[in-house]
Every structure is written in structure tokens, then in C-alpha cells.
Symmetry: C2
Subunit: 113 residues, 2 copies
């Protein structure tokens, strides 16, 4: 079971990275993340939607309503903004700097029972 903190820490970079690869919408993001993680990461809607709304309020992503191709069902498509792309670079840098610290320590002193 993934810790709450780890899920929280990875949600922003994950959403931004996925949107950087192309626009998407809430339900699909949940599906994609479930697939990418092999089911380890199970976002609920109550988790994701507030994240999307917060990112949009920060102008890091933008949205448009559109009908799904094929069906007439409405979806809210999100795109990453220019601000969002630099935010993602920052997120990536931060993630990698912490990862580097941990990996260095683990290399020097491999955890074992």
C-alpha cells in the first residue's frame, strides 16, 4: 500500500507529465494512472478533481468543455499551459533532486533486513 504522502507528492508531477503528452480529462487520467502503475496507484475522483481545480486556479493547466467523439457525452478536457510547462520542469528537478539523495544513500548503504 502506497503512503498517502507519496501519492500526494506524485500527483502533481504525474498529472502535469500526462497532460504535457497531450490533453486529457479526469476520468481518463484516473484510468491511465491505474494502468501505468499496474494498479498500485488508485486515485479516486475525490482525490483527482480537487487537484485539477487547484492546478487550473494556478493557471498551470486550462480546460475546455467538449463532446466526446462518437458519443455526445460532455467532457472537460484539460491542457497544460506555458506556465504549466515550466512548473513541470521545476517539479521534475525537485523530484529528481530528492530521488538523487535517496538513491545515493541507498547505494552507499543498501537497506536490508
Amino acid at each position: 500500500m502506497l503512503s498517502k504522502d507519496l501519492v500526494a507528492a506524485s500527483s502533481r508531477p504525474l498529472v502535469l507529465t500526462l497532460l504535457a503528452a497531450g490533453e486529457s480529462y479526469g476520468y481518463e487520467l484516473i484510468r491511465k494512472v491505474r494502468e501505468l502503475s499496474g494498479g498500485r496507484l488508485e486515485w479516486t475522483e475525490g482525490t483527482l478533481y480537487p487537484v485539477l481545480h487547484r492546478l487550473e486556479a494556478e493557471k498551470i493547466i486550462a480546460s475546455r468543455w467538449d463532446a466526446a467523439a462518437g458519443t455526445g457525452r460532455k467532457r472537460k478536457y484539460y491542457q497544460i499551459t506555458a506556465t504549466g510547462r515550466s512548473a513541470l520542469l521545476e517539479e521534475q528537478k525537485n523530484w529528481q533532486s530528492i530521488n538523487q539523495i535517496l538513491e545515493n544513500l541507498w547505494t552507499q548503504n543498501p537497506p536490508s533486513i
Copy 2:
């Protein structure tokens, strides 16, 4: 500036990894983390002590009071427990699985402005 979430997510694995390398105490952990991160991670005492107390309540670490060598000043030394070592392995596995997802995505689709 590192995000709150990232700081939170890394605090448990960091503390456990440092303690797995040898016992330590609060003030020293703060210093070590500051050095390891080149000043990017600045834990305050209000941040670290609750983490230590929670880990101790979960029996993942244990503590003993002792006088510092040289001075008579009292310190609370923390050690990782056997339970803690398996918890650390789990933390490591979880961290690396998320890191793998992100790195894969970033390799396939490198973030850029």
C-alpha cells in the same frame, strides 16, 4: 522551493535510511539532511519531532536517552528496529516504483518549455 508534499513524502524514507546507517538524534538528523540536500531541504524541529514520535509509536524506531560524549548534555538517540528495517524496504520499493513511472514518462516525453 520544494513542495510541502515532496518534503512530507521523503521524510519517512530519509529518516529511516539515515537511522539504518547508525543511530542518531533529532538535531543531528536536521543537520545531516540539510547537508545532504545542499540546503534544499530545511526541516524545522516542528516538522521532525512529530515524525520521530509517530515512527516510535509505530515501533519502527526506538529511543534511549543518553549524555553526549564530551559534554553532559542529554540527547535522545533513535535506532531503527527490525520492524523498521522491513518498513524501510517497503518505503524504498514504493518510492522506486513511483520514480520508475515518472522516469519512464519523462524518458518517453521529456518535459520542455
